[in-house]
């Protein structure tokens, strides 16, 4: 690789050609401040916080986009720079809603940290502030433009990484705002609620719709039996909220904290993931053997399902009819478990702890319930769970590891890996292979479907047949694969699609990781490691070997895809029209949104 030698703060540095000054400075341990910069996604040099002095250059330059050159002499810490960076941030703060103490991002806000690091002690610029509204109409995402600093990270994540483009800069100059088209609320736009805008926002301009109080109320009500379940990806990230390194697995402490919070039963969504594999695996076999619609595509990710409903409705028949795992869990808790534990299902309050913001909207879908009861009553993100633990003053790090409650807490390694891209596929193959071969196969790790490549393809031989599979994550990649299938360029039997890049471990409900940390570490890989590690230590690593799953079918569901299983565990989808509103309705909608105050 061609190298370039330059001088940064009087130190000689040799870095590969093509590096930015920001990257070069990192190699000698100088962390130039940034704000709008988001590696690979938002490299635009817009905020002017990362300024450096280059000898011979006319003006200060944005280091995040300025490439290094041979012989360059750079200064990163001079009075001129400190003053310039400070003034820039002071100007941003002058039009920012500075209610830090009561802010959703208090203590993990990138702007707040920057103000502290730059030693800003007063805002010399006082003037008019732009008037904005809080849009809290959707079940998943709240947008508060008074906090927005116009960095554009959400715009580019949505437009380039997800290829959706719900948010963009509107109006100009002082009136510039990042918003959906026509200043619509998020729920009037064809947003899939993946929440990638939230996890990449440096401030609190975008956040999830909190539902913590409703869960506290249920816990406190002696008449209500409150059951909680945790998705696989939660255990791979929750520890970050308590200062643990990225990728630390905290399954035992997480379960212990849930018990301490007062949940009556703590179950694992992984059990339902095993159940999903049973249903989905047999659905796949059925489709292949009976000539059903292929490729079959997974339906665990509600962001992806919504994406299909809005943008690729022609693929709805390809979606597996399986409900997503946490919905299956809710349905089983309110039927099988209620019956066995002799509890009136009406008195059960089902809470799902999810790495996902789209699950909130999914749980509210009217068809996801049985006999008039919703499968899931409340969905909280990993971040919301961390808030509850902090509110309850539980010293997370001192907790002894605890086990899930036995009724529906047993799970296999196949269920755990659902949280990483490729996990559902691998789990499905483990089971389908055994069913077709009629034996307990020992080679069960399918490396070709692991990792963070956008589109992974493989051919597996199952029972003498070659099955073509693909694993896709992030909706931009999903669109690419679906377009190729439509054009007849690709053919598959089975595709796993997750709405977020990296799968659930980097879902929109996961802990915030500052952009500067994301520069050095790929959180998709680190968090996935925690799940694959748990897989290897489980006694059972194939869904159909889960003794509780066998029992559930023996005692209740009879067999996969039975009539009863269909009633409880399967669902349907509908094509949705993007921006279905008309001009007149939209004007009325805007007025309503203006009247809606954030309820928090």
């Amino acid at each position: 690789m061609e190298k370039v030698t330059l001088t940064i703060d009087n130190l000689k540095v040799e870095v590969p050609k093509g590096y930015t000054i920001l990257e070069a400075a990192k190699t000698i341990g100088t962390d130039i401040p940034t704000l709008c910069f988001l590696k690979d996604t938002n490299e635009v040099g817009a905020c002017r916080v990362c300024l450096v002095e280059i000898e011979g250059a006319r003006a200060l330059q944005a280091s995040c986009v300025h490439p290094v050159a041979e012989g360059m002499v750079i200064k990163t810490n001079t009075k001129k720079l400190r003053d310039a960076r400070k003034a820039t941030v002071e100007l941003i703060l002058s039009n920012h809603n500075r209610e830090c103490l009561t802010c959703f991002r208090n203590k993990n806000c990138e702007l707040q940290s920057l103000a502290e690091e730059l030693n800003i002690s007063e805002i010399p610029f006082e003037g008019e502030k732009i008037e904005t509204i809080v849009d809290a109409k959707s079940d998943s995402i709240v947008r508060d433009a008074s906090k927005c600093i116009l960095c554009g990270r959400c715009v580019n994540v949505c437009k380039d990484v997800q290829k959706i483009g719900i948010l963009d800069f509107t109006n100009r100059g002082y009136h510039t705002e990042v918003s959906p088209a026509f200043n619509m609320s998020m729920d009037e736009s064809p947003c899939i609620y993946c929440g990638q805008c939230i996890t990449n926002c440096p401030v609190a301009a975008l956040r999830e719709k909190e539902d913590i109080e409703r869960v506290w109320d249920a816990i406190e009500d002696p008449e209500v039996h409150v059951v909680v379940q945790t998705a696989p990806a939660v255990r791979a990230a929750l520890g970050e909220e308590f200062g643990l390194p990225i990728g630390t697995r905290v399954t035992g402490k997480m379960v212990a904290s849930l018990k301490r919070l007062g949940f009556d039963r703590v179950f694992d969504t992984n059990f339902a993931a095993d159940l999903t594999i049973m249903e989905e695996g047999h659905e796949l076999l059925h489709r292949i053997q009976e000539g059903g619609t292929l490729p079959m595509i997974t339906s665990c990710s509600p962001g992806w399902v919504r994406f299909a409903e809005f943008y690729y409705p022609e693929f709805i028949p390809n979606l597996s009819s399986c409900k997503s795992p946490h919905q299956m869990m809710g349905a089983i808790v309110k039927s099988y478990y209620a019956e066995k534990a002799n509890i009136d299902p009406k008195k059960i309050f089902m809470v799902s702890i999810m790495p996902c913001t789209s699950k909130k909207t999914e749980a509210a879908r009217p068809e996801l319930g049985v006999d008039g009861l919703k499968d899931v009553d409340a969905v909280l993100t990993t971040r919301e769970l961390a808030k509850m633990i902090k509110q309850a003053r539980i010293e997370f790090m001192k907790l002894e590891d605890a086990e899930f409650d036995p009724a529906l807490g047993e799970y296999t390694g196949a269920g755990v890996i659902f949280g990483a891209t490729g996990g559902v596929m691998e789990a499905a193959i483990r089971t389908v292979a055994d069913v077709l071969e009629g034996k307990d196969l020992q080679e069960i790790e399918y490396a070709s479907v692991r990792g963070i490549e956008g589109i992974k393809e493989a051919e597996v031989t199952l029972g003498g047949n070659t099955i073509k599979i693909a694993v896709v994550h992030g909706t931009a990649m999903a669109a690419k694969v679906l377009d190729m299938i439509k054009a007849g360029e690709k053919e598959y039997h089975f595709i796993e699609i997750m709405g977020c890049s990296g799968g659930c471990v980097t879902g929109g409900g996961q802990p915030h990781v500052p952009a500067r940390v994301k520069m050095d570490c790929d959180i998709r890989i680190e968090r996935a490691k925690a799940l694959y590690e748990e897989d290897t230590v489980k006694e059972y690593r194939k869904s159909h070997q889960n003794p509780l799953i066998k029992k559930l079918y023996d005692e209740y569901l009879e067999k996969p895809n039975s009539h009863k299983a269909h009633k409880l565990l399967h669902t349907h989808y509908e094509a949705r029209e993007a921006y279905a509103v008309k001009s007149q309705e939209m004007i009325e909608g805007c007025q309503q949104a203006a009247a809606t105050k954030d309820h928090e």
């Binding site: 959706i164 963009d168 509107t170 026509f182 001009s583 939209m586």
Partner: protein, 158 residues
């Protein structure tokens, strides 16, 4: 909206424009310009059609439309009156002129009159400082104005 602009004929014209620019580099601006001419404005229904045809997100189109002052979201009046409030015109007393017009047509700056006849716009410098204070009515330019001149000029259009 005063008159029905969402006619089949208008959408057909828009489709022709889209067909002409689709596949070329940077099709959005010319399509928006033509769309503005065809419909007199670029409301949701028109932007949606452009978004679907050009495969550009609606938010991006809306961002462009609200960025440039040549585009409007609502129908413009038959006569668009632009009164320049740039520095030169302003110091030459443009404010009383726009106030006078606003009163005569009972319409605030930035809005369209009830009958849909006039749209009053306070513009930035239009580059005719030598004629300050200056205003335009559609393509006509009126310079070196005095408040007393306004009724005489407006008479032609009222």
């Amino acid at each position: 909206m005063a008159k029905d602009i969402f006619t089949e004929e208008n959408f057909q014209k828009l489709q022709n424009v889209i067909n002409e620019y689709k596949g070329k580099q940077g099709p959005l601006m010319p399509v928006l310009h033509e769309g503005q001419k065809i419909f007199g404005c670029l409301p949701l229904e028109v932007q949606k059609k452009i978004s679907e045809s050009l495969k550009v997100p609606l938010s991006e189109i809306y961002g462009v439309v609200t960025f440039y002052s040549q585009f409007s979201l609502e129908p413009q009046g038959d006569y668009v009156i632009g009164v320049c409030l740039g520095t030169a015109c302003y110091v030459k007393n443009a404010q009383p002129i726009i106030d006078k017009i606003s009163k005569m047509i009972d319409t605030k700056a930035g809005e369209t009159s009830q009958d849909g006849k006039f749209t009053l716009v306070a513009t930035r410098c239009i580059g005719a400082c030598g004629l300050a204070p200056v205003m335009t009515i559609n393509e006509e330019v009126y310079g070196r104005l005095k408040v007393e001149d306004v009724p005489g000029i407006m008479e032609k259009y009222l």
